[in-house]
């Protein structure tokens, strides 16, 4: 895989930076929007978060080695979300889980329903109830991996937790979903 900046020293030229941006960053914007939507539970906040994330990534391209751009961007996304939260809530401690309890102005919208936490589309009623039965920690992992298709490692990057924690939360979330849907007759 080609390095963005083989010398790893000195600034990138504008053309090289734009080429790297187009190759590594732009294709990941839809995924970043999905993850940001899960984290912020608001379309507007998600767009703000992704804009800030992508701009930071553009500025940081000279130091990026070209490997695993999605993981790199998800880490920037997580740090950016944390910074945005501190900017509006200076009393907030640096604990990622508190992002699930957003307050104004960034993160003003709470995930009132799983429907909102995932998208504005209509969600199957049974699925919605099953997802609603999950706690936030389990819901975010389930949505990132099973709805949005992130790998365990990508989900871990986005949430700042170990892969093993992703796996255990995912396992419990799926088991609860399965039992809930089975009880409602959705699963045969």
């Amino acid at each position: 895989m080609a390095c963005v900046n083989p010398t790893d020293s000195g600034p990138l030229s504008d053309s090289a930076r734009r080429a790297a941006f187009a190759e590594y960053v732009e294709p990941e914007i839809p995924v970043l929007l999905r993850v940001a939507r899960t984290l912020t539970a608001s379309d507007a906040d998600a767009e703000d978060l992704v804009q800030e994330t992508v701009i930071r990534a553009y500025r940081a391209l000279a130091g990026f080695d070209g490997a695993h751009p999605r993981a790199w961007l998800l880490t920037i996304l997580r740090h950016t979300a944390s910074n945005l939260r501190r900017r509006t809530r200076p009393d907030l401690v640096d604990e990622w889980d508190l992002l699930s309890d957003p307050r104004p102005a960034f993160g003003a919208h709470r995930p009132e329903t799983p429907h909102e936490a995932v998208s504005a589309h209509m969600l199957d009623d049974d699925l919605e109830r099953a997802i609603a039965s999950l706690g936030e920690r389990f819901r975010s992992v389930l949505v990132m991996v099973d709805v949005h298709g992130l790998t365990y490692a990508e989900c871990a990057q986005a949430l700042g937790i170990p892969v093993g924690t992703v796996m255990s939360r995912l396992s419990r979330a799926r088991d609860r979903m399965r039992k809930h849907l089975k009880a409602s007759g959705r699963l045969s």
Partner: protein
């Protein structure tokens, strides 16, 4: 008829079933473990039924995910805002 050995094998399979189904590159099962889980699923009605339920759940959630991508307008807004920011630097 369920022997103690079969029960233990069911429990062992249950612990690895989601890794087996996911095939996630972050946490792959060894070839030996994959073969063992597959062999057990081939003969155990209860565990193969559980696997089918997880697969059905996964399909439902993934199908929803495919329908729930970001709106094209959202993508356009983000790209336009980033372009403006980059151009001003």
């Amino acid at each position: 008829m369920t022997s103690v050995g079969q029960m233990l094998e069911c429990r062992r399979t249950a612990r690895q079933l989601q890794q087996f189904l996911d095939r996630d590159p972050s946490a792959p099962l060894s070839t030996k473990d994959r073969e063992r889980v597959q062999a057990h699923l081939d003969v155990c009605e209860r565990c193969s039924g559980l696997a089918r339920e997880y697969e059905e759940l996964h399909r439902s959630l993934r199908q929803f995910g495919e329908e729930a991508g970001p709106a094209p307008e959202a993508l356009d807004r983000v790209k336009a805002a980033v372009e403006r920011a980059i151009a001003s630097e």
